[in-house]
């Protein structure tokens, strides 16, 4: 029909998904420029409009082609890849993007630290130059996939004597290198979704630096911008997500209903549906600043709904499905119990930008309210209060 279905047909003809090894097929797909069509030729794309991807994916899916299990490699696809594309050298793009996309190499992100959460730019992990290498020492936290990852994107402090944003440099870190110690971080749900990563004198070759020395904050903004775009971007059916789960619990438990819970549930259903509608406006309109409202509202609604579900379940709400310390590949809101949902949803207003930070962003960038007086922007990092 279109150029895209033709290209897919050609790929599938040359590499029959039924008989081709999965990794081999994905490599062939990458080489055909059908991995992410908006990427440049030779790097998995064809410099085509991003919108064409949907048609390509649909045609491949119809042809029975395997996908690259995007949930498993979300950080690579969503954060590392756009950053490498924007700031990497030709060598770095060639080396990293293909196995990243095929999933042969998993990526993780070494940004947050115990002392640098919302104030990421204050991070303390030190990277000292030593010949052709950098020697990295510090502690990172909230790292998902670290235990499966081959590579990490890493922000380190290369100059403590300049203001905090100016002393950062962005690296690619080999997670198999000596000195990288990954430890599971157990959460209030009982699971260990994330890790702490201790870096002791880890050597990173200068060729694995992404962007200029001291330009790490600018490079990281590419990463973080792509993180935020990902939220609220997908079309969702009515009652998709948490509201659907709780509505089903409601429908399944007629004897547990009370007028109080009823009015609150309908009010939350309304908010969830309005959020879905706002998502439609956001996707079909100009990208605008509504994205941060989506994440803020999403967290509030998910937390209120999951809290209500526990209340509704009464004597069953007092129980928990499983306290085993598991290491799940992704968050399983739908497969787990109400208590899990309640606890895990508490993270929605912390991870990927706290609700407090989002409110400040909205106030300043959307509403144009003045920033607070700040003393920490111009002082040398080493002189900042901690």
């Amino acid at each position: 029909m279109s150029e895209w279905t033709d290209r897919v047909a050609a790929l599938v003809a040359a590499h029959d998904p039924a008989t081709t090894d999965r990794a081999a097929f994905l490599r062939a797909r990458f080489d055909a420029g059908l991995a992410w069509v908006h990427f440049p030729e030779g790097l998995g794309g064809l410099a085509a409009p991003r919108e064409a991807q949907r048609e390509v994916d649909a045609a491949l899916s119809a042809a029975g082609a395997p996908d690259n299990d995007p949930r498993r490699i979300g950080i690579g696809l969503g954060m590392a890849a756009p950053t490498i594309l924007a700031h990497g050298t030709a060598d770095q793009r060639r080396r990293f993007l293909r196995p990243l996309w095929t999933g042969e190499e998993v990526w993780c992100q070494l940004f947050s630290e115990p002392g640098a959460g919302s104030d990421l730019a204050a991070l303390a992990t030190r990277a000292r130059r030593d010949g052709d290498d950098w020697v990295v020492t510090g502690q990172k936290v909230w790292t998902s996939s670290a235990h499966n990852a081959r590579w990490a994107i890493l922000l380190g402090r290369t100059d403590p004597d300049v203001p905090k944003h100016a002393g950062l440099t962005y690296f690619v870190c080999d997670m198999t290198a000596p000195g990288v110690d990954v430890r599971p971080l157990r959460q209030i749900t009982g699971e260990a979704e994330f890790n702490e990563v201790f870096l002791s004198e880890v050597r990173v070759p200068d060729t694995d630096r992404l962007g200029d020395v001291g330009d790490g904050w600018r490079v990281a903004r590419t990463t973080l911008m792509n993180e935020r775009v990902a939220i609220g971007g997908r079309p969702v059916p009515r009652e998709g997500g948490m509201v659907g789960v709780v509505a089903r619990t409601w429908r399944d438990n007629p004897d547990r209903r009370t007028p109080d819970l009823h009015d609150r549930l309908v009010a939350l259903w309304v908010r969830a549906e309005a959020l879905r509608l706002a998502g439609i406006r956001l996707r079909t309109g100009s990208p605008g600043p509504e994205g941060s409202a989506m994440k803020l509202a999403f967290a509030g609604i998910a937390q209120a709904l999951s809290g209500l579900e526990v209340e509704l379940l009464a004597e069953d709400g007092l129980r928990y499905d499983d306290w085993t310390e598991r290491r799940p590949a992704h968050v399983d809101y739908l497969g787990r119990g109400a208590g899990y949902r309640y606890l895990r949803a508490k993270g929605n207003s912390i991870e990927g930008g706290t609700s407090e930070i989002l409110r400040t962003i909205i106030a300043e960038r959307v509403l144009g309210l003045p920033a607070e007086p700040r003393a920490d922007k111009d002082l040398p990092w080493k002189d900042l209060p901690r």
Binding site: H262, V270, L277, A278, A297, L367, L369
Partner: protein, 332 residues
């Protein structure tokens, strides 16, 4: 379910600009005549009946702008409620006659759900919006909707919480009237009215937010703009976020009134949200203006009164949640 179109079209944005220009230039007695002249009071009326042949999406845009200016015109009572009832009644000479003037639907502005008619066009109806502007009334009686000349009705204005949309009491003593339609026309009018009111509420809320933001940017206390204080910033960010949801819901209601898809859900969804957001925005507007927001001189109070009256009008948020529950299979 295909996704509704919730953007403002270019045509709709043009319409918004003309209405806004008129509202900025004009105030007082001539405004309603100018709005009629511009055609914005007959948008959903087919061209064959002397209207613009547009839809409720466009009506909603006008309602937003009228909300943002709390314009004291009988738009809701006449161009929304009465027109919706008349369009439901079908094309008759009486309907054409009524559409050519300023008819007003004679129900308490707080009506939602059941409509109890006056018996044999004798009796009274309290708290009717925009009644003073009417040349004719559409009156629910026990066996249908009747057209009654305003001259045959005793109209007693009452002090209204919202003086920009005054209410009045009507009294009928065996008033002469023509039957136009069944009472389902009234139910349709209330549905349309509630759906359009959501956009008016969005307009009210947006004005309150904009005005508050502008004020706290320039108001200095403790040597800093009040708008640089984090608690103020976060409250306004939350309000803006509420408005993002409310606008999506209001647009969805306007679209559903036009397409006829899932209309009852869309309308009650929007009313559940937009009424509350408008009240909250107006209350924050007064609060964050401090003393000046409590004065008669500052416009904030007119928005507060409109927002609060609108919260009662055409069903409270609680009533709309109760309406919604069975429609979305969430029974109490």
């Amino acid at each position: 379910m295909t996704e509704p179109d919730l953007r403002y079209s270019e045509v709709e944005e043009d319409l918004r600009s003309s209405v806004r220009a008129l509202l900025t230039a004009r105030a007082g007695a001539g405004l309603w005549r100018e709005l009629v002249g511009l055609g914005v009071t007959s948008l959903p009326v087919p061209e064959g009946l002397g209207g613009q042949g547009a839809g409720y999406r466009e009506v909603a845009v006008v309602a937003e702008e009228l909300g943002a200016s709390v314009a004291p015109v009988p738009f809701l009572g006449s161009a929304v409620l009465a027109t919706a009832a008349l369009l439901h009644a079908g094309d008759t000479p009486e309907v054409r006659l009524a559409l050519s003037g300023t008819p007003v639907l004679a129900v308490p502005l707080s009506s939602w759900g059941a409509v109890v008619g006056v018996r044999g066009l004798t009796g009274s109806i309290r708290s009717v919006a925009d009644a003073a502007a009417a040349d004719r009334f559409l009156v629910p009686a026990d066996n249908g909707l009747y057209l009654v000349e305003a001259a045959d009705v005793r109209v007693s204005p009452v002090p209204s919480l919202d003086e920009t949309r005054p209410v009045a009491d009507l009294e009928f003593s065996a008033a002469p009237g023509t039957r136009l339609a069944g009472l389902d026309a009234v139910r349709r009018a209330l549905l349309v009215g509630a759906g359009i009111l959501a956009s008016e509420q969005v307009g009210v809320a947006q004005w309150c937010l904009d005005t508050t933001v502008a004020y706290v940017r320039q108001r200095v206390q403790f040597g800093r703009p009040v708008g640089s204080f984090q608690a103020v910033k976060h409250r306004l960010a939350d309000l803006w976020q509420e408005l993002v949801l409310a606008r999506a819901a209001a647009r969805n209601a306007a679209d559903a009134l036009t397409t006829g898809v899932d209309t009852a859900v869309a309308v009650s969804l929007a009313q559940s949200l937009c009424a509350t957001v408008a009240v909250r925005a107006a209350e924050e507007c007064v609060q964050l203006h401090g003393g000046i927001g409590m004065t008669w001189e500052h416009p904030a109070h007119r928005y507060l009164k409109r927002a609060k009256a609108n919260e009662i009008a055409l069903g409270t948020p609680g009533m709309h949640r109760a309406t919604l529950a069975p429609l979305i299979d969430l029974l109490g």
